[in-house]
């Protein structure tokens, strides 16, 4: 089961802009973030301001960290941004 | 005793031809751009040419003054090097220099200071080649007061004028 992850901002310097991630049984956002945090060598936390979208919708509007992922889902990680 | 390259300046030999400005800008900018030359010749009064160039003061007040640590001293050549990425163009180094020798680059506004061309200065080559030797390189002993050579051009010009014209020199500048 594979999801596509797009990464924006500073995290992209650690993970690249776009990656395909293989996940095992019953994959959730929580599991994905743990996997990516390990890979990035930095903690990726929703309560730390990182916005996580699944197929364009914020995970907080779905099931939070327990949001289930399906094959082919697009996950986007956005930094807390403040420009303008 | 350390040996480094230092540029001696002999104002009375300077004819104002400005080959040095051409050579410097060609080397650093890739084109003839006297406004961006690190060595600048001023002529406050006809016949009175002042060579204005970093003297690598022993205490490097410019480096000391920079609030963003964009200036440092090259270990080998002892020249001042500017990190253009860090420089914010604030002008503190210019203020700190007793002769106001650094300037803000006409292109990007960053502090611009002679870097001795890495140890083989171009300006010296053309001046010596022309036979003037108003500037020439020496391997200098460290205990010379460099600050004598970092003075505002008008002050230097006054001294030169007095040299050339005697006391009348003070009237022309």
């Amino acid at each position: 089961m594979r999801v596509r992850v797009l990464v924006f901002g500073e995290l992209s310097t650690r993970l690249g802009w776009s990656l395909d991630v293989e996940m095992g049984e019953a994959p959730t956002i929580r599991g994905l973030l743990k996997l990516l945090s390990d890979r990035a060598g930095a903690s990726i936390r929703v309560d730390g301001g990182v916005t996580v979208l699944v197929n364009g919708r914020n995970v907080n509007l779905l099931g939070g960290l327990d949001t289930e992922l399906r094959d082919g889902d697009l996950v986007v990680l956005l930094p807390p941004l403040s420009g303008g | 005793m350390e040996r480094t390259v230092w540029i001696v300046r002999d104002h009375l030999r300077c004819t104002g031809c400005r080959r040095c400005e051409i050579a410097c800008s060609l080397h650093h900018e890739g084109r003839i751009w006297p406004e961006a030359s690190r060595i600048r010749i001023f002529m406050p009064f006809p016949g009175v040419e002042v060579i204005h160039l970093c003297a690598q003061c022993d205490d490097y007040p410019c480096v000391e003054a920079c609030p963003v640590e964009a200036l440092r001293v090259d270990e080998r050549t002892k020249a001042v090097l500017v990190d253009r990425e860090k420089c914010t163009g604030c002008g503190a180094c210019i203020e700190a220099c007793p002769g106001h020798i650094p300037f803000l680059h006409p292109g990007d506004g960053k502090a611009t200071i002679c870097d001795l061309c890495g140890g083989d200065p171009e300006c010296v080559k053309v001046c010596v080649e022309a036979g003037y030797r108003a500037i020439y390189a020496v391997e200098e002993e460290v205990n010379v007061n460099r600050k004598l050579f970092a003075r505002p051009p008008l002050e230097v010009a006054q001294d030169i004028a007095v040299n050339l014209y005697g006391e009348k020199g003070l009237e022309v500048i």
């Binding site: 924006f8 364009g56 956005l78 420009g83 | 609030p67 604030c90 803000l104």
Partner: protein, 611 residues
């Protein structure tokens, strides 16, 4: 006084008189500087009801006690006046050498009134002030005019000037500097033009003496180093604010087709990542080490300095999906001295009006050549469309009729900047309550709102957050006059600022006092609006555009989203309650008293009853 110079310059262009005077220490203690000085001076000295484009209006240029010192991002000043676009308080801030040079003339502010008989410019050189003839500058675009001034007065002088649109008093003409820095969205450039004032040149030699110069220098050094060590510093240096394009696209907040949608098909082509591959140089404000001006070569081969607002408003908002073409429009606005945000918004309005058969112009979505021609018509007020659109979307819509006001995207007459708020009530509140009309500078809460995961809700915490940001960004930073970016973009801590202030001035103001300053300034600005609008003032002026309530998004993952009026009503009420403003949005007597504005309140009572 230390830190503050204690001096301001008064210029009367009608009489040709320039006088430097000392201002009372009380002004500095209560209002600190920048926007604080501007609103207080305007309150005290501008006759209510004055014509913004008449000689009575005051143009104020104000710095603060930190401006110009070698501390992070202190090279900014505020330009302010009564706005010809909105009829209320208008200001902006500009990052420019002029900020540093103004302070090196040992001046904290300049107050300009009257009108010169013929095109003129001001030269402020140390203690000498001259009004000079600008005959050979008038008519030149802002780039050429500035080049001439730098040739004449020296490369290191600071210049504030206007382009042809300011000369022609286009309502959203700004004050510009250094090829792309600009400020005064609500027509401060038009005010300058109405005074026949082409430029102000500053050249000084020494900043006001600091209370503890050694300490200030040390703090500055530490601060600059601290900034470069922040985790986001390197990425910021790569894209500046342009990273916001992708962020907004992903969150459906990128203004598209006149704020009809929040996603743009060609967002990638105008994104920060695309820009990175084209950058030819970077430019920044004086004393800043996190420079954010990224320069590319536009489609005509000319350099153009980009940042998020310009690119979104002149790109996705009008359907131009090619960064080099957007850069042409951006550069043309800078040359003409037009606010890029209002320009992009007005173009979007115009194209929609044409689509609906209300306006006869030959410009379509994505048509950057047509847009460029229209911008020039606006700057020169040429043709029916050029003349109409030069008035700003609120006025243009009113004159057009036919329901055009439904798609005039503004608050209080100032065109919204680049955040589509169909599903961002907090940001909508920010636009609604920004003190100059719709502008994001004061309370950029959209990132917090979306990260919070509760973007669809109308919770009072959002009102609290807007106020928090307004106090910091719209209050403290606008009065110290330093840039908010080190704090908001990189997390540079706010408690540096009281330390800078103490080293500069010897005065110890806690962070809390500096935030209360924000409340004071906001209350006085609100009083100014109410005094100008009188009986026409209503809380409706604090509402965001109708489109976000009544025309849901039709594209993207948030299709169907829209704001809810009842929800917004409650949010606004929570805002008023927290601020101590009554249900009309006017500060109560008690609030004025608490903020030390009793005499201003009494003056306001001649115009409106206070609760």
């Amino acid at each position: 006084m230390k830190g503050w110079s204690g001096r301001l310059l008064r210029v009367d262009l009608s009489k040709g008189k320039c006088v430097v005077e000392e201002y009372p220490a009380d002004l500095a203690m209560r209002f600190v500087g920048g926007r604080g000085f501007a609103v207080k001076l305007l309150w005290d000295e501008l006759p209510p009801g004055a014509d913004p484009l008449g000689p009575e209006n005051l143009l104020i240029i104000a710095a603060g006690p930190l401006t110009g010192y070698a501390i992070p991002s202190s090279g900014k000043l505020v330009v302010a006046s009564k706005s010809p676009l909105t009829g209320g308080y208008g200001d902006g801030n500009v990052g420019t050498r002029a900020a540093v040079q103004l302070r090196r003339c040992r001046l904290d502010a300049v107050v300009i009134k009257g009108r010169a008989e013929k095109p003129s410019y001001l030269v402020v050189e140390g203690d000498r002030v001259e009004i000079r003839d600008a005959g050979d500058l008038w008519g030149l675009d802002a780039f050429k005019a500035e080049d001439k001034l730098l040739e004449e007065h020296g490369r290191d002088v600071g210049v504030l000037l206007i382009g042809p649109s300011g000369e022609n008093q286009v309502r959203f003409a700004t004050v510009v500097s250094q090829r792309g820095r600009a400020g005064g969205r609500p027509g401060m450039g038009a005010v300058m033009g109405s005074k026949n004032l082409k430029a102000v040149v500053f050249k000084g030699d020494e900043e006001p003496e600091a209370a503890d110069p050694q300490k200030l220098r040390e703090l500055g050094r530490e601060a600059y180093r601290e900034i470069t060590e922040k985790p986001n510093y390197d990425f910021w240096r790569r894209q500046g604010t342009m990273a916001t394009i992708e962020w907004c696209q992903e969150n459906s907040t990128l203004p598209t087709y006149n704020f009809r949608e929040g996603v743009f098909d060609e967002a990638d082509a105008i994104s920060g990542s695309t820009m990175e591959r084209m950058v030819v140089k970077q430019r920044g404000c004086p004393n800043c080490n996190m420079i954010c001006g990224n320069v590319i070569e536009d489609a005509e081969g000319v350099e153009s300095e980009l940042d998020y607002e310009n690119v979104a408003m002149l790109g996705s908002n009008i359907g131009v999906g090619d960064l080099k073409k957007v850069a042409v429009l951006n550069r043309v606005c800078d040359e003409l001295g037009l606010d890029t945000i209002s320009a992009g918004n007005t173009l979007g309005f115009a194209i929609e009006a044409a689509e609906k058969g209300l306006l006869d112009i030959d410009v379509a979505w994505g048509d950057h050549e047509g847009a460029k021609r229209l911008l020039e018509d606006i700057a020169y007020r040429r043709g029916e469309a050029g003349e109409l659109l030069s008035l700003g979307v609120r006025e243009a819509a009113e004159r057009l009729g036919g329901g055009a006001s439904d798609f005039a995207i503004h608050v209080k007459g100032l065109e919204c900047s680049a955040y589509d708020c169909h599903l961002c009530p907090g940001m909508a509140l920010s636009f609604g309550t920004s003190p100059i009309g719709a502008h994001h500078k004061d309370a950029w809460v959209i990132s917090w709102e979306i990260s919070s995961g509760r973007r669809a809700e109308y919770i009072p915490e959002k009102a609290d957050k807007v106020i928090e940001f307004q106090r910091i960004r719209g209050g403290m930073f606008e009065c110290l006059v330093t840039c908010r970016f080190p704090w908001i973009e990189l997390g540079f801590e706010l408690d540096w600022y009281p330390r800078f202030l103490e080293a500069a001035t010897g005065v110890s103001m806690s962070l809390d006092e500096l935030l209360t300053l924000g409340d004071r300034v906001y209350a006085l600005i609100r009083a100014f609006w109410v005094r100008e609008y009188g009986g026409e003032w209503s809380r409706r002026m604090d509402y965001p555009p109708r489109r976000w309530f009544e025309e849901p998004l039709t594209k993207g993952p948030l299709k169907g989203a829209h704001l809810e009026l009842e929800g917004y009503d409650k949010l606004l009420q929570a805002y008023y309650d927290k601020r101590g403003w009554d249900e009309r949005g006017i500060p109560t007597r008690e609030t004025f008293r608490r903020l030390g504005l009793e005499s201003e309140a009494r003056q306001l009572e001649r115009f409106v009853e206070l609760h």
